[in-house]
Symmetry: C2
């Protein structure tokens, strides 16, 4: 870390004034005590900002939380895993409202100050009979050191929880930013089946906060891809409660810039952690494009390469196959000239001017054998550049995603559709 | 077949006046005698039309054949498998020219009357030392009944050859159309790693032929997808030599319409055969979209559903997962309203107005257990419709595509890069 940030413990509860809790409702599995319901709460009023899925099919909690954020800042987030509460119609909206209302009542705040998020299977109503009785335990157990439990409660097919927190000093005040995230499948730029919650005790103006969140997401969560699918539930929320006591960061100020940089630093860590823990992923590949006619062209190329099944399969097979990469460059829709394209694996050239470079293929192969490497595609046409973080696709990814049918059978057994 | 077509034998050589041959050059594997070089030839001059890849990285034979077709009709096609002659620069163009020139010389026609096509690995020059010595055997063995050998010589990872021929009568003349195709991987609308050659003894005017080919491709080969990758080598060529003796089909005439319909019938059979034989494919799924605001919107939805890794994995797992389908509908970019979307598996409703329909999930599951089924998505927004033929994605597909590295090692051993 060459920046003046200190990594600290505590995750989402690291910043002053935030408390949390997580409980198990048996949403993931009625016979298991895995944590699947989490609550994050700021002891004092705060500013908030959010980014949500661009999928036109939006889960009920996304619709409701968007309207809450338009009305006022939120200061609590209740989040369940195991069921997305998506494609659940009026029942789904009513269930999301119950979650906000009951939690708000117990916290002594208004319903619309509570954000709700869900992730999991689509199309099955939430098992509210197992969720509602847990609200009291959830709220009464709120504590300042529950960051790790919260990070565990929001994940689904992730293999590990993802949390990260930093502190830095600005004008004599220590500012903390902490967050946790959930990823694994349906990960695509414009976001992912992704939940990400970030808290900070910085004192941030509303406009500085919303702009900083937008900018930071563009450079982090909108640059990751696992399988090219965009979820119905993506939710990113940032809460800033001002407990650090700094002079308020107004939009355009030096303080706002410094805050935005730090926020992006935290988001970048969490975004990369999502790719590294993608479903049955074995490689973390940075796809860099430069020399494009425009940044938009560079993005098209990066997206096409990072989402090509054949390119991803070749990474899984540790095959330095630049032929499949250039073929994806060709169909990306960007303005390219085949005979000007250079491709590198880390610093070693695989393709020079559209042709096989002189590098020994074994040298390239040793690069693709690593867990993490960078592919650089130089179009030599201009100054547009872009990068994206991608994973391979494995036979096990497909195997893993073959069926959620067992979940449906369980739901039927539970009488959810009756 | 409810149309007045008779299925006939002979494939690409079924129409009068066409001869062919196929030999083994060891391009696929120097130690094997698998057929990998084919020649199709019309004994008399003919009309021709072609459609080529939209990838901006185009293989040398594609570039050359496109320029041949602009200059004059072609009457011979030489086609190799095992090596794409793509990303091979001036060497690749020179090799493609040698193939056209030497074959033309032996046939007594001009170089530019010969079309060349290649399919296989990208980025490695053709092993011309093994190909050139075979031209004489290839030409001297031309015979009218070699359709099946040709169909075998053009395939790569396909498990079976794909050929189909029909005849029909028009104004007292018997007209034949025959073809063969190659698919398996890199199959996407706007074509595929696809080679398709079609011959007919119909007497067709140049404008009727080129328009018919364009229209028929739009409704057939541009509606299939396996993995969403568009190849560098796609080539579809149609040769019409007039030997049937019918009065010439001019553009806009009744005869031209009837010819176009028959051509589309043959292409549809071959296109579907490509999806059924996709790499490690277990399902053939027709994705129908209706009720879209426009045909373009319907196409966006069909493309998104048919190319979603998660949807395809669920088909492989025989999981009637309408949730993943509706999530792909949502991110397709089409104008949709969640609460108006209906989804059917064959005739059984899975999703009604964005919600779980009442159909017993076991009934839906039995449909997805079949080898072939239809998914109908009704957006209930307008009259735009579209359909596409898609496959599932299997763990074995990824396994199969993990590495072509062995091929590279062989090429190095052969001294191809020296």
């Amino acid at each position: 870390m060459d920046l003046p940030y200190t990594r600290i413990k505590g995750g989402i509860c690291a910043p002053s004034g935030f408390v949390g809790n997580a409980v198990s409702c048996g949403i993931k599995n009625p016979d298991s005590d895995r944590l699947d319901l989490a609550l994050i709460y700021s002891n004092v009023p705060c500013q908030s900002a959010g980014v949500f899925t661009q999928n036109r099919v939006k889960a009920a909690p996304v619709r409701m939380t968007q309207s809450h954020l338009r009305a006022n800042p939120v200061r609590a987030i209740i989040s369940n895993s195991g069921n997305a509460n998506a494609c659940t119609g009026v029942t789904g909206l009513a269930d999301a409202r119950v979650m906000a209302k009951e939690t708000g009542k117990l916290l002594g705040i208004r319903q619309r100050e509570v954000a709700v998020a869900s992730t999991g299977v689509i199309g099955i109503p939430l098992p509210m009979a197992r969720i509602t009785p847990k609200f009291e335990e959830l709220v009464s157990g709120l504590k300042p050191k529950k960051g790790n439990e919260i990070a565990k409660a929001i994940i689904t097919s992730d293999t590990i929880e993802k949390e990260f927190a930093i502190s830095f000093e600005y004008e004599g005040k220590r500012i903390r930013i902490g967050g946790c995230a959930k990823g694994a499948g349906m990960i695509n730029p414009n976001m992912a089946t992704m939940l990400c919650y970030i808290t900070t005790d910085a004192n941030v103006g509303a406009l500085c906060l919303s702009r900083s969140v937008q900018d930071a997401v563009q450079n982090t969560f909108n640059r990751i891809t696992i399988d090219g699918d965009t979820s119905t539930n993506d939710t990113l929320l940032v809460l800033a409660n001002g407990e650090a006591g700094n002079k308020v960061f107004h939009r355009g100020s030096k303080g706002c810039k410094i805050f935005c940089h730090a926020l992006q630093f935290v988001m970048n860590k969490l975004a990369k952690a999502i790719v590294r823990d993608g479903e049955r992923v074995t490689k973390f590949v940075t796809v860099k494009v430069k020399g494009a006619r425009s940044q938009n062209d560079a993005k098209k190329v990066a997206d096409a390469v990072a989402n090509s099944s054949l390119v991803k399969a070749s990474w899984n097979g540790e095959d330095p196959n630049w032929g499949r990469i250039i073929h994806a460059v060709g169909y990306s829709g960007a303005s390219v000239r085949e005979e000007m394209i250079d491709i590198y694996f880390d610093k070693k050239q695989a393709c020079a001017g559209g042709l096989q470079a002189k590098t020994n293929p074994e040298v390239l192969r040793n690069i693709v054998r690593k867990k993490e490497f960078t592919i650089t595609i130089d179009l030599n046409r201009g100054s547009g550049d872009y990068h994206i973080y991608a994973s391979d696709i494995s036979p096990e990814y497909v195997e893993f995603n073959r069926s959620e049918y067992a979940y449906w059978k369980q739901a039927k057994k539970d009488g959810i559709f009756d």
